[in-house]
């Protein structure tokens, strides 16, 4: 009983801390969804693969989404004809390289600014490298979900002006059910294989058409989007916090400590933890902080860099873009890169 109550207190404290950040993230993402023309953004993307991956990694500054919100945005970018390295760079880096997460990390690690800086640098580097690696694959379609691949094949990015005409009213009906998250429905919702209808097609235009809407309508859609995201991400966050609290109570820190205190084992332990715990990138720095006194700085960084890229909670979302095989490659690459970087830091710097 005692244990349960302790666990519940932990759970509540995680939630109470995370809720304001979640609300802020949802507000930002909803505002930007309706007030930034992503089509113009697409036109400005560089063609060079390495540069593209780097730029993609930094789009997070414009779309401050955590790892729950980046998947639909990345998918929309791909569908709009953004080069692959840009989209993959965005997918992997956006949850870390955005103002809210950087601020949250800074709040948590005020007294260790090097952690904040290294988190940004390492995330940028990993995302850029993985994005670049994927650019070597000329035709990405074997890696993508069939429906998405087919859409990109038969709908090459059109000229911005021609696409905007006549879509307005069509979008109107869709927009009422609009949300960042629902784009993945057609695969996870069991409608896969229906090649004629892609949940996201019309939605790709929502952001642009929204710019033309009357202000009152915009506000209404904004409110709906906020509610939708709060509900979805709030639910995910409750589950994540419950798992995190359960782990903290059931596996005393002495046990996790025993997983490894060495330069390599401590990193491996934290990588596993990052994948399992699945907490949102806006709050994971606070979680990592609870290990600050017991784990090496390198392994904390491993947690902070790897966690936002890959976690169990996000796999479902990412499967709406990639086939499992491609996802496995991304996992492996991200894990290895993080391990290498942080191991170097553990052995030679800190």
């Amino acid at each position: 009983m005692n244990q349960l109550n302790n666990g519940f207190t932990l759970f509540l404290s995680l939630l109470v801390e995370a809720m304001p950040f979640l609300l802020l993230g949802v507000l930002f993402s909803s505002l930007l969804l309706f007030f930034i023309d992503e089509r113009k953004l697409v036109e400005k993307m560089p063609k060079n693969a390495l540069l593209g991956a780097l730029v993609g990694s930094m789009i997070g500054f414009l779309f401050p989404v955590c790892e729950c919100g980046n998947v639909p945005v990345a998918r929309r970018l791909l569908m709009q004809g953004v080069p692959t390295p840009v989209a993959i760079g965005f997918l992997l880096a956006a949850p870390t390289i955005n103002p809210i997460v950087i601020w949250a990390t800074w709040t948590a690690f005020r007294d260790q600014p090097e952690i904040v800086v290294l988190r940004i640098v390492l995330s940028l580097a990993s995302a850029t490298i993985i994005g670049f690696v994927f650019s070597l694959q000329q035709d990405l379609s074997p890696f993508l979900q069939p429906t998405l691949a087919r859409y990109i094949k038969y709908n090459p990015p059109p000229k911005p002006e021609s696409k905007r005409k006549g879509k307005y009213y069509q979008v109107e009906e869709q927009a009422t059910a609009n949300t960042i998250l629902q784009s993945g429905t057609y695969i996870l919702g069991g409608k896969a294989g229906r090649s004629t209808k892609i949940g996201g097609i019309k939605q790709t235009n929502i952001a642009t058409s929204n710019l033309n809407k009357p202000f009152a309508d915009k506000l209404r859609l904004l409110l709906d989007n906020i509610i939708q995201e709060l509900r979805e991400l709030g639910g995910v966050m409750v589950l994540g916090s419950a798992i995190a609290a359960a782990i903290q109570v059931l596996a005393p820190r002495e046990l996790i400590l025993s997983l490894g205190a060495g330069p390599i084992t401590s990193i491996l332990a934290m990588l596993i933890l990052a994948a399992v715990v699945s907490i949102c990138s806006t709050v994971d720095s606070f979680f990592a902080l609870s290990f600050a006194s017991t784990f090496t700085s390198g392994s904390l960084l491993a947690f902070l860099v790897f966690g936002p890229m890959i976690d169990i909670k996000g796999v479902g979302l990412m499967l709406s873009i990639f086939k499992p095989k491609a996802l496995l490659y991304i996992f492996a690459l991200a894990g290895q890169l993080t391990l290498l970087f942080t191991l170097f830091l553990n052995l030679h710097v800190m």
């Binding site: 639910g235 609290a245 979302l317």
Partner: protein, 259 residues
């Protein structure tokens, strides 16, 4: 679809948006309630109270506007425009139901302060003399008897030679832990330090030499200890210890954590 199913679907579509509103509003109220009742102290660092308060107000505003919108739709007998069929993470209503359930549990169950059990699990014994690498606040000019327990631990961190403090007066408050390493005449006086929220709390403490059996001070009792510092060999380690001249049971402080 039969008409009954349709009817059910209709009712569901009417009710689910309200579930969202209730769940979001409940969380706003819960967070404000913790603030008003002072329980927020048990959950997070006072520096971030404003964050929680602003967040709570934000949630209430969102809930309020959505509520108004739904209310107007109801009066005009419109179908709610917030269609539920496009949810991919949970079946319809689950996200809100989870949020609402948690909020209700939060209203029923009072959060409690961490005690000796958690302290032992989080390795207080290891922290007997060493806490974090970087002390967050350090005021060396303070008079010894005015130092709090955490001030002592931090001071010790900066200058770890126990003999340097021998004979200094001590007056500190904390809760009692009976670690297995200490014999019957000793107890560990500890407090939790939190940097952000309760999830990152870690215990810090000093051993107390009682000169009598510790059983009249069971674990988790809050006590105020007065005495002098001296060095003792505990578990084969020279350890700064408080030689207690008086122990007084005190009620649990309003704000049990240190920062």
């Amino acid at each position: 679809m039969t008409s009954i199913q349709k009817q059910k679907q209709k009712i569901k579509n009417q009710l689910l948006p309200w579930l969202d509103v209730i769940a979001i509003t409940a969380w706003g109220i819960l967070m404000l309630k913790y603030w008003f009742t002072g329980k927020l102290n048990l959950l997070i660092h006072p520096d971030y109270f404003w964050l929680v308060i602003v967040g709570a107000i934000g949630l209430l505003i969102v809930g309020f506007f959505k509520g108004i919108q739904l209310w107007q739709q109801c009066r005009r007998y419109e179908a709610p425009n917030n269609q539920q069929q496009h949810i991919n993470l949970f079946p319809p209503g689950w996200g809100s139901a989870l949020l609402l359930t948690t909020a209700i549990l939060g209203f029923i169950i009072t959060p409690r302060v961490f005690a000796s059990q958690i302290a032992l699990e989080r390795g207080v014994t290891e922290l007997l003399g060493a806490t974090r690498a970087q002390p967050q606040a350090f005021r060396p000019t303070i008079r010894p008897e005015e130092r709090s327990l955490i001030d002592w631990v931090r001071t010790l961190n900066v200058y770890p030679e126990p003999d340097a403090y021998t004979g200094q007066k001590v007056k500190v408050q904390g809760f009692v832990i009976h670690p297995p390493e200490l014999d019957q005449n000793h107890l560990l006086l500890a407090r939790f330090v939190i940097t952000c929220c309760a999830a990152d709390g870690y215990p810090a403490g000093l051993p107390v030499h009682l000169g009598e059996n510790r059983n009249q001070y069971p674990p988790d009792t809050w006590v105020e200890v007065e005495g002098q510092m001296f060095t003792e060999n505990i578990a084969n380690k020279r350890q700064l210890t408080i030689k207690a001249s008086s122990l007084k049971k005190i009620p649990q402080p309003e704000n049990p954590y240190s920062y």
